[in-house]
C-alpha cells in the first residue's frame, strides 16, 4: 500500500514536470511572438508553491543570529590612529597638529526597562603630552564620553541620568539654542565630527504629552566648552594685542560650585504635520569665555539666559529651517567692553539633493550686538571695535560614490563682515565594513589676524586617519 502511494506520487511529480515543460515551450513561443521580455519565465521562489500543498511548511523556523560574543553586555567600539600636520609655521605650537592613538569602548546593558551606557576613550597623545586625567576638560589618557542610566518611571516620562552627549536645534555646525558643551579643539585639529560634542554631566527628563513634549536638562555644575585656550591651537588675545600659544595658555575662572553654579536648559516641542517647532530656554553661563577679569587677565564665564525658537520642515524639494535666539548677557554687560554684549542670533538654512547621492546645504547666520552704542562708548582706546553685526554663510556639499563606500565632503564657513572663513574638507573611504581610511583639511583664512577665524590661520592643517570598528 505504501509502495503504491510512492509510485503514484512519483507519477504525479513526473507528470507535473512534463506539464510544466510543455507550458514552458508554449510560454517561450508566445514570448517570442509578442514584444515582451527576452528572459524566460522565472523559476518561482522556494516555498511559494508549498503554500498551496496539503502539508504547508512550518512557519519560519529560523533562529536569529545572536550576538554578544558571550559577554553579559553588548560591547562595541573602535581603534584608530590619526596624524596631522600644520600647513603654516606657528612658533607657538608644535608642527604636528595631531598625532594620537585612540581606543573607544562602548558597553551597553539593558535589564527590566533600565539601560546602562558606558562609552570611554583611551588616548595616547604625544602631541598634548599630558596624561593626567581631567574628565571635565577632556584632557589626559581617558575621555569618558558617556556614563548614564536610561529609564522610564512613567509611560510618558523618559529619564537619562549621568554623563551624556546632548544635542538639539536646527543648525549644522552652527548653534544658537544648543548650549551644551562643544569641543572646538577636536573640531579644528581634525578629529571625527562626533568629538565636536563634549559630554554633559546632567539629568535629562523628557515628558511626552499629546499636545507637546518637554525636555528639561539640569546640569548641577557648569560644563564649559572645551574652548580654544592656546594648548592645541593659538588664539589672538585682544588685551595683550598678540597671539597666545601652548607656553602661555589662557587661564580661566569658571563657576564650579555644585548646585549653585548650575545650568538649566528647557525645550518645548511639537510637530504640525511635517513641520517641527520648538521653543527653548536656557539659564546658565556663556559656554566659551564671554568676559575677561581686568585684574588677573583670566577668562570669565558671565551669566547668560537665552530665549529661542525654531522651525524645520520640507520646503520645495528640500528641507528648510529657521532658528533664533535672544542672548541676555550678565547685568552690566551693555557698558562693559570686557563682557559679551547681549545678542540677537538668527539662522536660516536650506538643504537639497542636487544630484545622485549629492547634497548641498546653505545656511545664513547673524549675530547682532544689542547694546552696540554702549559697547562702543565704553571701549578703551587702542582696542579694535567689533562690528555690530557678524554675518556668516555656510555651504556644505556631500557626495557619495562607489556604493557609498567613498564620501567626499566640503564645509565652508565664510563671514563677509569679518572677511574670514574656515574650510573643512574630508575624504573617507571604507576599505571594508569595519575599516575606514580618511584624509582631510582644516583651512582657516582671513584678512585680519584677530578675527573669529582669521586668528587661527596658522592652525590650518591636513590630517589622515585609519579606524577599525568592532
Amino acid at each position: 500500500m505504501k509502495n503504491l502511494s510512492i509510485i503514484l506520487l512519483v507519477a504525479a511529480l513526473s507528470f507535473g514536470t512534463v506539464a510544466s515543460a510543455q507550458e514552458m515551450t508554449v510560454q517561450e513561443m508566445t514570448v517570442q511572438e509578442t514584444t515582451a521580455p527576452e528572459t524566460p519565465l522565472p523559476e518561482l521562489p522556494e516555498g511559494l508553491e508549498d503554500l498551496f500543498s496539503d502539508e504547508p511548511l512550518a512557519e519560519t523556523p529560523e533562529e536569529p543570529a545572536r550576538r554578544g560574543g558571550g559577554l553579559p553586555f553588548d560591547l562595541s567600539g573602535f581603534a584608530e590612529g590619526r596624524f596631522g600636520l600644520r600647513l603654516q609655521d606657528d612658533p607657538l605650537q608644535k608642527d604636528i597638529s595631531l598625532g594620537e592613538a585612540r581606543l573607544q569602548l562602548d558597553a551597553e546593558k539593558s535589564w527590566e526597562g533600565f539601560t546602562l551606557n558606558l562609552v570611554s576613550d583611551f588616548i595616547l597623545d604625544p602631541v598634548a603630552d599630558d596624561y593626567d586625567i581631567d574628565l571635565e576638560r577632556g584632557r589626559g589618557a581617558v575621555d569618558l564620553r558617556e556614563a548614564n542610566l536610561v529609564f522610564s518611571p512613567l509611560d510618558f516620562v523618559d529619564v537619562k541620568l549621568g554623563r551624556q552627549i546632548l544635542t538639539w536645534g536646527t543648525g549644522d555646525l552652527v548653534f544658537i539654542n544648543d548650549l551644551f558643551p562643544k569641543d572646538w579643539n577636536s573640531f579644528f585639529i581634525g578629529r571625527d565630527t562626533e568629538y565636536l560634542k563634549a559630554p554633559s554631566d546632567a539629568l535629562k527628563v523628557s515628558l511626552f504629552f499629546d499636545a507637546f513634549n518637554v525636555n528639561v536638562v539640569y546640569t548641577p555644575r557648569f560644563d564649559a566648552d572645551r574652548f580654544i585656550d592656546g594648548h592645541r591651537v593659538s588664539f589672538f588675545d585682544a588685551m595683550r594685542g598678540g597671539t597666545r600659544g601652548r607656553e602661555a595658555p589662557l587661564r580661566d575662572l569658571r563657576p564650579d560650585d555644585w548646585f549653585s553654579d548650575d545650568e538649566l536648559a528647557v525645550r518645548l516641542y511639537r510637530s504640525f504635520g511635517a513641520y517641527e517647532t520648538a521653543l527653548y530656554f536656557y539659564s546658565g553661563y556663556w559656554k566659551s569665555p564671554g568676559g575677561l577679569d581686568p585684574v588677573s587677565g583670566a577668562a570669565l564665564f558671565p551669566r547668560l539666559d537665552v530665549y529661542g525658537a525654531s522651525m524645520r520642515g520640507p520646503v520645495g524639494a528640500g528641507i528648510g529651517a529657521v532658528e533664533l535666539g535672544y542672548y541676555d548677557s550678565a547685568d552690566g554687560a551693555a557698558s562693559n567692553p570686557l563682557i559679551n554684549n547681549s545678542e540677537f542670533r538668527f539662522l536660516v538654512s536650506y538643504e537639497q539633493e542636487i544630484g545622485t547621492e549629492f547634497t548641498a546645504a546653505i545656511q545664513y547666520y547673524l549675530e547682532r550686538k544689542l547694546d552696540y552704542d554702549a559697547y562702543l562708548a565704553s571701549l578703551p582706546a587702542g582696542l579694535r571695535a567689533e562690528d555690530e553685526n557678524r554675518h556668516l554663510i555656510t555651504l556644505r556639499l556631500t557626495k557619495l560614490l562607489m556604493n557609498q563606500d567613498l564620501t567626499l565632503s566640503l564645509f565652508n564657513f565664510y563671514s563677509p563682515s569679518d572677511e574670514d572663513g574656515y574650510l573643512r574638507l574630508n575624504v573617507s573611504y571604507k576599505l571594508r565594513d569595519n575599516l575606514r581610511v580618511e584624509a582631510g583639511g582644516n583651512l582657516f583664512y582671513g584678512r585680519f589676524p584677530d578675527s573669529f577665524f582669521g586668528q587661527f590661520e596658522d592652525a590650518s592643517n591636513l590630517y589622515t586617519g585609519l579606524r577599525y570598528e568592532f
Binding site: A36, P37, L44, T167, P314
Partner: protein
C-alpha cells in the same frame, strides 16, 4: 472616401476607448493586490534583515538591521511609517533611520546619529538611489506609488501575470519600463526586470524564498542584481511578525533618541 476614413477612425477610437478601460481596470486591480502583498500585509510588521552586498570584484559588505513598519490609520494601502535600527556594520551601529511615507508628497526622513545625539532631517528626494549602499533602492524597500506608472498586462500563464509598467514621468526615473511577474495565487511579485531606453535589461529583482508567517505569504529572501556593474545584494528576513500592535508614537523623535528595545529584541 475621406468621410469614410473619418467614420472608421472614430469607430476604432470608440471601440478602443470602450475596450481599454475595462482591461486597464483589471490590470490596476492586479497591481493594487500586488502592491498590497509586497508592502502592506498586516497592519504592522517587523523583521530582522541581513543584507549581503557583493560588488563585481567580489568584495562583500554586510548590513544588519531591524525594521518596524506601521500602516497609517484610515485609508488602506496608503501612508506608512518605518523605523530602521542598525546593528551592522559597526560604524552605523545604533543609528536609526525613520521614514514617514506619504503618497501625496515626498516622504519625510530622519536619521539619528547616537554619538552626536543628533536628530537630522534628510533632504533626499530621489527615491531611486541606493538604500544604505546596497543594490536595493529606497523605493524597493518602501514601495513605489502605483499611479506613477501606466500598467499593461502583456502576458499571463497559469503561474503568473506579466505586467509591463511605463513611467508617466520618464525624466524622474532611470528606467524606460519594467516587467513585473506577479504570482497568480498569492499576488506576490516574484520577479521584476528593469529595462533602459535602449530596451536593455540592467537590473533584476528576484524573490528567492517565500514562507508563511502569521498566515501571510512572506518573501524571506530576495535579491537585486545590477547587470551593469555586476554587483548584487541578497536580503534575508528573519524573525518576521505581523500585527504586533506597534504604537504609533514609536515613529517619533522620542524613540529615535531612546530605541524601543521591546520591539527591537
Amino acid at each position: 472616401m475621406k468621410r469614410m476614413i473619418t467614420v472608421l477612425t472614430v469607430l476604432i477610437a470608440l471601440a478602443g476607448g470602450a475596450a481599454s478601460p475595462a482591461v486597464a481596470a483589471e490590470v490596476m486591480d492586479i497591481i493594487k493586490k500586488a502592491n498590497h502583498m509586497a508592502y502592506y500585509q498586516g497592519k504592522d510588521g517587523r523583521a530582522r534583515v541581513v543584507m549581503a552586498i557583493t560588488d563585481a570584484q567580489g568584495r562583500a559588505r554586510e548590513r544588519e538591521f531591524v525594521i518596524l513598519r506601521r500602516d497609517d490609520d484610515g485609508e488602506e494601502d496608503a501612508g506608512q511609517k518605518f523605523y530602521v535600527y542598525f546593528n551592522k556594520p559597526a560604524d552605523v551601529k545604533k543609528t536609526v533611520f525613520m521614514v514617514h511615507k506619504n503618497l501625496d508628497r515626498d516622504d519625510d526622513r530622519w536619521l539619528y546619529l547616537p554619538a552626536l545625539d543628533l536628530v537630522k532631517r534628510i533632504a533626499a528626494s530621489d527615491e531611486r538611489t541606493s538604500f544604505v549602499g546596497s543594490h536595493f533602492f529606497y523605493e524597493d524597500v518602501s514601495g513605489r506609488g502605483i499611479y506613477e506608472d501606466t500598467h499593461e498586462l502583456v502576458e499571463e500563464n497559469d503561474a503568473v501575470y506579466v505586467i509591463k509598467s511605463t513611467p508617466k514621468d520618464p525624466a524622474a526615473v532611470e528606467f524606460a519600463y519594467y516587467i513585473n511577474w506577479i504570482h497568480k495565487k498569492t499576488f506576490l511579485p516574484v520577479k521584476t526586470l528593469y529595462y533602459d531606453s535602449e530596451g536593455k535589461l540592467y537590473r533584476t529583482y528576484s524573490a528567492l524564498k517565500v514562507n508563511p508567517v502569521d498566515g501571510h505569504p512572506t518573501v524571506t529572501r530576495a535579491q537585486m542584481e545590477d547587470h551593469r556593474s555586476g554587483g548584487k545584494t541578497v536580503m534575508e528576513y528573519t524573525d518576521v511578525n505581523y500585527d504586533t500592535d506597534l504604537p504609533e508614537d514609536i515613529f517619533s523623535e522620542r524613540y529615535l533618541r531612546k530605541p524601543p528595545r521591546k520591539y527591537l529584541r
